[in-house]
Symmetry: C2
Subunit: 187 residues, 2 copies
């Protein structure tokens, strides 16, 4: 793993644990065995580090999701996979969604970081919306609203599970979610 990716990895862990102000050059440097000032060679400013971190997180997230159309062709429900990816963040990483936590802090973030957070949600809304359109073409008019509802409950469920230190809360919150039917048809 390149030095740059080592830095991003440590930064991701720390930001997903406590937000933008929970990461510092020194802690990153200590963890990978360089001096804190060395981080500045790889990322000119902290703002640049944060922005590149969020951008890469978004790309990696979308890559893990894949293409809704492909999934449907192979008999998989893309919305179910979307939910599962959020669950993975909680179960495997034991951490928040990077862009969820940063999104909540948006008003105090540097411009470049805020821009990348927005990009994450725009692309996520579009991905889920497209999935709903493919799953239920007759209800295409509601696809975007349903996408926003789904992402909201997933981000909120992550947040509550961390707050209560109880993974089961996530499963309760995401029980019988809107997988296929029109908004609120599950249950």
């Amino acid at each position: 793993m390149s030095r740059k990716n080592e830095i991003l990895k440590v930064a991701e862990s720390r930001v997903r644990t406590g937000g933008y102000n929970n990461v510092s050059h020194r802690e990153i440097a200590n963890e990978i065995g360089i001096k804190s000032a060395s981080v500045h060679y790889h990322f000119k400013t902290k703002e640049d580090l944060g922005a590149e971190l969020a951008h890469q997180y978004t790309d990696s997230f979308l890559h893990a999701l894949g293409e809704p159309a492909d999934m449907i062709n192979s008999g998989e429900n893309p919305v179910a996979r979307y939910i599962e990816l959020f669950r993975t963040a909680l179960i495997r990483d034991k951490k928040m969604c990077l862009c969820g936590l940063l999104g909540a802090e948006s008003d105090c973030l540097p411009d470049k970081v805020r821009f990348e957070i927005k990009r994450f949600f725009e692309l996520n809304i579009e991905w889920v919306k497209q999935s709903y359109v493919l799953l239920t073409p007759d209800d295409a008019a509601h696809a975007k609203t349903r996408a926003i509802k789904l992402i909201s409950v997933l981000e909120g469920a992550l947040m509550m599970s961390k707050a209560m230190d109880d993974i089961e809360l996530f499963d309760l919150a995401t029980l019988d979610l809107d997988l296929v039917g029109s908004a609120g048809s599950a249950g």
Copy 2:
């Protein structure tokens, strides 16, 4: 307003904007015209300040909610008021829920603060659960799960609205929520 409450007010604004690490003694002090060290007279440590802030926020939130039984007696839907209180946080304050943001950072917070965040969500789940029990006694078995779902979507909707800097997202996410019927009956 007492000095102590002045400090809490500034701290609340800053924490709700950027989390626990977004507040500092100096900024608090500057804003109210004292020296940063003076804050330590009113709150021994930052942990104590954070804990008292979260405790007071929780009490104030519950007080604004009132008693579900009273509301039902006077013909008001308590769940509708609950949703409205979250909306107020966004529209009037233009800020996150204090305990939502801190909850997402839970793993890096001092013990006393984490304890208060947990208390917020425990009391909120209980309040909403009780409301559902009163509204739909026949579905009492699902009341707690429905409460968790509702709080999740509200916290997530706040988060997304801040991330996208778009209040309308909150209204879309909370359109046709589970006000009375059993889980997922809305739509």
